[in-house]
Symmetry: D3
Subunit: 322 residues, 6 copies
């Protein structure tokens, strides 16, 4: 596999294609214009400086375009930086595709949808099953493409579905160990808990928050959609309000965004399953970058902790998103 931007060291010369993630212009202390570009490939991103940029440059180099760049890898405040020497937009002859430059879940979408479909198939309560199927079908395209968040954990293409798939596997194990748990409720909760993200976020790549995402939030939106689904399907049992409650309470505490705490056994456990999977994703990602005997960088979403990788840990062959 080709060397990714993350594998370059200070002093190296870079000469390859990259996707523009964001672009902004600035002025040096001596009054000269320049551009700051965040450029990425599937392994990560780097800040690039295009000194003495022209208005033409500012017009051309916009987010979501792919560029061919030549430059030097330097260091600024302890982080790598790419000092651009040559840059141009790509065209059809370059034969490059945006999908090659974004991080994506390590499992193919077909496999993920199969796991999800299987979980729904195993449900015995028809009301729970029908509502879940209805909503998965309604949002299927976005469900498979969207990230689970704009940052922190599973913030890559198909991150949402990948998070759900991991959680389903965990839910299955836990439901076997604790037979009082209602498997159907737990699976439905896992599948629906973050589905509102497909409306809260603007899209699968470099997402921002939508207006309704910002004013209402994904939890409220999905609670609402469960009701709508039930009405469309003519379902009236207590399953409806319980499913709404599962989604509503999955952040566990009011200060974390759930106006009601879990009041049903499966809702409490859903919160833990969500946490374990999100935290494993964040810890694995941070620890995969360091060697035994080292600390990770601080991880803001894990209370700003810096994790230690013990000396006796076998070096990981495990990779990327997991």
């Amino acid at each position: 596999m080709k060397r990714g931007i993350q594998q370059y060291d200070v002093g190296d010369v870079f000469d390859d294609y990259l996707l523009i993630k964001s672009a902004s212009k600035g002025m040096t202390s001596t009054g000269k214009p320049f551009m700051t570009l965040i450029l990425q490939d599937h392994t990560g991103d780097i800040e690039a400086k295009l000194w003495d940029s022209s208005p033409e440059d500012e017009r051309l180099y916009l987010p979501e375009h792919i560029v061919k760049v030549t430059g030097d890898i330097t260091s600024y405040r302890g982080k790598s930086q790419l000092k651009v020497k040559q840059i141009r937009l790509t065209n059809d002859q370059d034969g490059v595709n945006v999908h090659d430059f974004v991080e994506t879940a390590p499992i193919p979408q077909e496999e993920m949808i199969e796991v999800i479909t299987q979980a729904m198939f195993e449900m015995e309560n028809p009301n729970i099953q029908r509502i879940t199927r209805h909503l998965v079908k309604k949002h299927q395209r976005a469900f498979l493409d969207y990230p689970a968040a704009t940052k922190n954990h599973h913030d890559f293409v198909s991150g949402l579905a990948y998070h759900v798939v991991s959680m389903l596997r965990l839910a299955k194990s836990i439901a076997q160990l604790y037979p009082t748990l209602d498997k159907d409720l737990l699976y439905a909760g896992v599948i629906l808990h973050d589905l509102g993200k497909t409306r809260e976020l603007s899209g699968p790549v470099a997402p921002s928050y939508t207006i309704e995402g910002n004013l209402l939030g994904h939890i409220t939106m999905m609670v609402e959609e469960i009701k709508e689904a039930a009405q469309e399907l003519g379902i009236e049992g207590e399953e409806v309000v319980i499913l709404q409650h599962m989604v509503l309470s999955h952040h566990s505490k009011a200060e974390w965004g759930s106006p009601k705490p879990p009041l049903v056994r499966e809702a409490e456990i859903l919160h833990y399953i969500d946490n374990i999977d999100a935290k494993m994703n964040m810890m694995d990602r941070a620890l995969s970058k360091v060697a035994p005997g080292e600390y990770t960088e601080r991880v803001f979403a894990l209370d700003n902790r810096s994790f230690y990788k013990p000396l006796f840990e076998k070096s990981e062959s495990v990779q990327s998103n997991s």
Copy 2:
């Protein structure tokens, strides 16, 4: 007006009709059965003891029944208590009606609905107006009958509508003083903010929480209904999400039950209007029971404070619920 239960002092003999608010049985330390009844009229309630009660008594004296009681007003741990000597259920000949025994808003329902209708009439934005009208109409009966809460403030028949009417008057004043406020949004927010209580609570008299009230809460339920109303009415503008946000954020902070803080000017002000009216209701109720130079009992919902009535305050003729 007839003397109410609140006006009796220790040592008085009571002989009148009262409504049973709640009933429970107990056993004395020497093993004898008795009943504890909470009996009320329009002025308040009193704990009553029916010593040496029979199984027959337990079968007869149930909540929401009216009884004719004779007994002595005594004192127990600093609170008045009624020691029952004679008690019987009322019948048609007694000519008593449950409505004579419950506390109710000091303004007639007709006048309240008129104020609310007028506010809706003044709205200029047709989307806001139609959604508000639709929901008021849908819940009108309960809107006019329900209390605003099970305790703390406006916890009496028609308390919800009375609270809304007071808030509308305050909203009108504030909108005139601060012309940047969108009057339509503010009025709609006032009218809809607690309308979900009609589903959260079980009824107008001695309400408890419904299952969905407990698992979802009145805020989430009304946010959902605004969306439904818009769909039924075929309304699609940004007004829908803004109205939902007004209701969603009116508790102001996550730890007080709003998963999103106010992010729109009118939502911020709605929160203050709600607070001023609720607090005035609680303070007035507590202060109306004490003389100048005295402190009120501690009011739990006001951070457990005990308010002082200055010596130079004119004695209040103001009464009851206000």
Copy 3:
């Protein structure tokens, strides 16, 4: 199986053996002496009143004795109470044994020690394995007998081992789903995390806190013992400090008793495994007492929540401690 004290209703006559859990004397408001006994069998306990008790009674009826009691089940403040009519200490002829009156884990000790032994057997890191084995062996008797806590969760004979066994099963599942986790560390953390309780608590039945338990706590004591074990075994690798850290950080936050938060991946996950098992135990216990459509009593250690059992839940045949 014989009817347990938990299965009696108000109005029933009780006539059977019970274990005295605690005993205290009192005086009625009219100056007459009485005794309050907490009496228990394997299904739970009940408060009993022995009116007009004599000094002889006070001398005889002491904790940990078994008595033969006849009396009526009454109700006081919503809780069942046993009004004692006849009571006497048991003797050899009664053929009763203290073990028949205490709640105990639903799995035999042999099975539990087998699961624990198997987990230690599977460890590949010899340092971790030897320290864990050493400490399990050192405390084996108490480990198998002690409760996991004085109240809240797993507060019964063998509760500690039962809690560890459930956690080991969960740890095994999670380690399989997330291969970056060091299975050895996770198993050792599960086995040792609460082992200090065998010094913090005074014994398996009706435990109180020891002086050192109160002044140092089970976490500090086990951290200390891991070091001692390593010294005795001549082990010096980083495994020692990592194991100490696993125990030290398993309460996750300073305000919950861990002076250091988890800084190693397995420590973070240990905290979640501990939580899921403890919470499932508490929720199951509370929910097993109510029917579908009902709420449980408030559970203090679960943020004082009252859980709801959905109407569509199949009625549980699952029992007692699980």
Copy 4:
């Protein structure tokens, strides 16, 4: 009206008079001296850079002087900056006055003092009236000139009086709607609540904190002055301590600076009136800078929220400080 500094865009050439708000010197990374000036007119301020400044420049360009500046509007880190090309101090021939360069309340001082005088005139309690009048008279000059704060809300010339005037209008409305409120107390509380700012802050323009302002705070200083005023006027009734309490408690909670919470009805309402007016000022200011469909910048004093202006809002003609 002339274009103010706030109306210039990046790329424009600026050539006009500005007031120096603050001045500091620096050195570029290559060792060359420069000056950073904050320059303001009545519409706001801008950071200006004077590259290659001389010691003479540093001597001349001091705060509170007016300069004639020519330069280019550039952008640095998303904020406008003025790159100075020519600069000179103004002299009498320029015919400019410091008052033309500071933001000031949108109502003339005469009108403000009239509203305040009228409120005092309407007071019926002579003790409250005399103390209020005495203190307004004592601090009248500063009362009319000072800002209400150094930043956040009403931080402009006459901001304090303007804030009080708005609050008085709101107090009047509320007192009419809730007749149990003592109008005299409420008005006096409004007028006196922040009067201590005239000693806490150093002056009307670009104020800093005085030593006693920092060590005691405006609340403590005004509580003290109410007592002094009463002594000078020979007033002894309970009004004195109640007025002191109104000022002392108007921040509502200990952590916000009030050692006692409101314990009198009017003190509680004073806190809300203060909040509504301060928040309306902050929200209006932030929202006046954005178009419908946009978010404001984050407002630190409003819990760092970013407010949304709905698409259906009529564009505001409302202006300036209100």
Copy 5:
């Protein structure tokens, strides 16, 4: 010395004089009147029950009267209780005096005033010295008689002066060890810090809060008096505001009642001296009641902790208030 009420055990017969601290009437569950009296001598107090009390009893047995009582020491809910058999008011023939029944500081007032006078004498800064002297003189009677609090620590006659004397001794030691401390400021801070209690509390025996004590607090009142004293004495230096700040900030944090935190070195240390002396008083009092190897009862003002007295502690001969 005569046996005090604290030295009686359950089962003993009591026959001696006691002071009525508080009196209230009640009714038994069977409707019979009784009185509850809190009776005290210099060693502590006890709850007494006067069964079947008459209206005459209620008229006679009022707080601050001394009674001759005969009765039995019984136990109720783990606390001693006195069941009154005979009771009468005392008269001149009894030869008893209220001062013999109240707890008081262990040092005579003359000695205490001498220590305080000496500290003032040692002050070198005349402004600090004169203000301190003026205020001590103004409140001298109450300063020597009042308790330092209504409960928790130094809650006995002369408790305030005793607390100040202990703090002065500690201040002297600390000032010697840390020569950068301004001795004069520190001594003045110690002497004045709680002097406002003489206005906050109603009197030396069984004090309650005065209206101004409740609405303003002792801190605000003393800050005000320092200013008044300076004005009367014609003192204008910065010492005035610094002394006010010492008193204002001595609770250290806003949530503990100080609107400004210590911003002067001596103010910070004053807070610690106050804490050490108050906590030593509370710990000594609680620990003096238990034997080595025992825990004290929970002390609410010490974060509800229960302190342990080590087995190797020499048994204390130290006594009572210290």
Copy 6:
């Protein structure tokens, strides 16, 4: 005494020896390399810029080396900076020693060990004395060399011992004033409380955290060592657990790092002694840099407060570390 780096002003030329505390490389916005060095002598440190640095420079100028530097003192963002003109490593001919460039305690080590030895000599309880002596002896070298912290207070060579010596003097005074305190326990607590820092930190100069320091913390490590010491010495009394508790609880609250709060009288007082000495050190250091009438810079570890030095304070001749 030679002028230290702290005594230089902007505009001065510097030409002297300095110790490199840290070194990092950077690149200017125009792509030129430079080095940032933190250089220190016994009076403090300064940031130095070495423009146009070569790879050779980066290889040579490493932490803990002494350099001879010539350059100009300039100012950057309000802080002094040294613009390096000439720099070279020192050699034997320069006759400079690393000890001349580090801040160190103001008392010689011999005097400090004497005070500590004397305190141990005065102990009467042989168990406490022997454990303390054993641990002091075990860590003596580091005890006398290490700082008490990496920053905030006593962060200089021998800072730990100096902090202990000051605390011992304070402990002695307090033990005399409060005779119920067990002097032996208090002295032992003072001596041992931070001794674990000798394992938590990496060394006496420019210390960082060790792995075990980070994962366990100095408190846990010293608690463990007390147990080990007792075992080696064959001591078994309750003194062992009490000494462990003294160290364990000396941070007072869970959120400050003590899993158990002080539950023994001397533990509570130890916490206060530690605080007073640490805070005096921080306040003195900050206040020694400002003149009367000025504020100190904000001190992060003192809740970010800025302290005021009153105008009437005598100018301090007191110096450096005290």
